[in-house]
């Protein structure tokens, strides 16, 4: 069977593996050594996926399944142990860290953020009112950012990131904390970003959020993709499994998991393109 060539790919994750070396805990019965013993943690065990323009992709999985690691690798914050990530433009990441410069006011943080994403001072001044309106923080915008709640901080960062009109946006559970009043506003902005043929990755362990906001969902389990399909389908299977787990019905959960795995076929990425052509194109882009 020959599949058609995917021409509108925005993010390609090609067999990414991530191995962390972490310091082992005491209590394994061995004598304490002078230096810490490192053990290996396989956070990602060969993840491949192709994201197309206009897709909003949810990444599901319980804690420690590797979702955040995958997002950080797509963002380019750390290089994978093996494998590679290609993207059509530099992804913009929205993490859960509380404040940019905690001591500074929201306004000064906005300006700093706008300069960081590469705006000139003039462009930053022009974009300011729009960002402040989207953030909708009222008088709090003049307070130091360390006094913000995590939801307020997330909103401010989202507003800054949206000002850059990112082509690829990566969100790490940040927006799930918004309240009803501001959620409508950011939903609207999300829609605009999506219409600009952008690609959004949204990491969450709440199936509900994924189902509402995404077109496609990926289920990550212990560092491997075990399901990839329409958001409602993946999210329902995940919710069913999570419910069984929560109730302690391990057997049932195992059945769900096995079923999900049996229906999934792993993806292998093949980059179809003469090499010299790509380098020329990449050079022309600069």
């Amino acid at each position: 069977m020959s599949d058609p060539l995917i021409t509108n790919a925005s993010v390609v994750v090609d067999d990414v593996r991530m191995i962390y070396r972490v310091n082992a805990e005491e209590g394994d019965g061995r004598r304490r050594r002078l230096w810490h013993r490192a053990t290996q943690v396989h956070a990602l065990k060969g993840v491949s996926l192709v994201a197309r323009q206009g897709e909003t992709i949810g990444i599901l999985g319980h804690n420690g399944s590797g979702k955040s690691t995958l997002l950080r690798i797509i963002a380019g914050f750390e290089p994978p142990t093996s494998g590679s990530v290609l993207a059509s433009s530099t992804p913009t990441f929205l993490g859960v860290n509380a404040a940019l410069q905690p001591e500074l006011s929201g306004t000064r943080n906005v300006r700093l953020g706008l300069l960081a994403i590469g705006l000139t001072p003039k462009q930053a001044d022009a974009a300011m009112p729009d960002v402040l309106e989207l953030a909708a923080l009222g008088d709090a915008i003049h307070r130091p950012m360390k006094t913000y709640s995590s939801g307020m901080g997330a909103r401010l960062r989202f507003a800054i990131a949206a000002a850059a009109q990112p082509d690829i946006l990566l969100i790490d559970e940040a927006l799930a904390t918004g309240d009803a009043a501001t959620k409508a506003r950011s939903d609207e902005r999300m829609k605009t970003i999506r219409e600009q043929a952008g690609t959004i990755f949204l990491v969450s362990h709440a199936a509900q959020v994924i189902e509402e906001m995404c077109t496609r969902a990926i289920w990550l389990h212990e560092g491997q993709i075990i399901s990839d399909g329409p958001a409602h389908q993946t999210a329902r299977a995940y919710r069913w499994w999570a419910w069984c787990e929560a109730k302690g019905e391990t057997d049932k959960a195992q059945v769900v998991l096995d079923d999900v795995i049996s229906r999934y076929s792993r993806v292998r990425v093949s980059l179809a393109e003469p090499r010299n052509k790509r380098t020329r194109k990449a050079r022309a882009r600069r």
């Binding site: 790919a9 990441f93 410069q101 491997q224």
Partner: protein, 294 residues
Amino acid sequence: MTSVEYIEQPTVRTEYVDARGLVPVGRRPSLHDYIADLWRRRSFIVADSRAKSATSNKDYLLGNLWLVGRPLLDGLTYFVIFGLIFGARDGVENFVGFLLIGIFLFGYTSRCLTGGLGSIASGKNLIRTFAFPRAVVPLASTLREMLSTFPVIVTMIVLILVIPPHARLSIWWLLFPAVFLLQTLFNIGVGLYAARFGALVPDAKVAISFISRLWMYGSGVMFSIEQISDGHPLVMAISQLNPLYCVLELSRDLLLYEKPGDATLWVVLTAWAVVTPVMGFIFFWHGEEHYGRE
């Protein structure tokens, strides 16, 4: 928790992707692109350094007065210990001025070293939120030190003019800004080196206080190396290769002793001021992929 074995032989589906227009993510850009990108963010460097200076010393009651207060108290301590008790002031002309210049100017480089070391850690929120050339962070840190050192230098000049035996204005004072410039260039390089070490080796923070102290004694901040070693040729030759020794000796000659300073020292200092930032920049750029690590 239910778990799965590594999926051995599942069905595999191949996706053929047209890779034109796709570029690797998180890879270190070429040095040329990196510098160009950095140049575009120059206003970000300035903004970040301002943000930093607004927050440092904020927790103290006296705030930024400590920029001057700290070296003054240091000076007093060293004056008592080295000047009076160990007798380092014997044979040193204008020991008070000698000591003040030593402490204030050494402190500049020492702060750049410490600032650079912690810069990646303190900038981690920005680094993990936005994509920009990471060299912005240590450069902003050194820029902030430079800006906050201006009032410190003014204080130093006032002090050496006021405290007897007063230093006299001479034509050679005009060369002092050159020394300051060379020291600043050197500090930029030091900050870049320190930033990568600090980001990769957490233990560097512990080591730095020893290194910094060793460097301070080795640069003759509070005593004259020439006197202590009786002008031993090997000791003097090694000292003259130390950029901070050059900074201190030249500044003292220019400001206190109405001399143009030794030509060898000028050459050595200039070499350090050119080589260190260039090598430091390349060294920092080499680690570019790793600064966002948790």
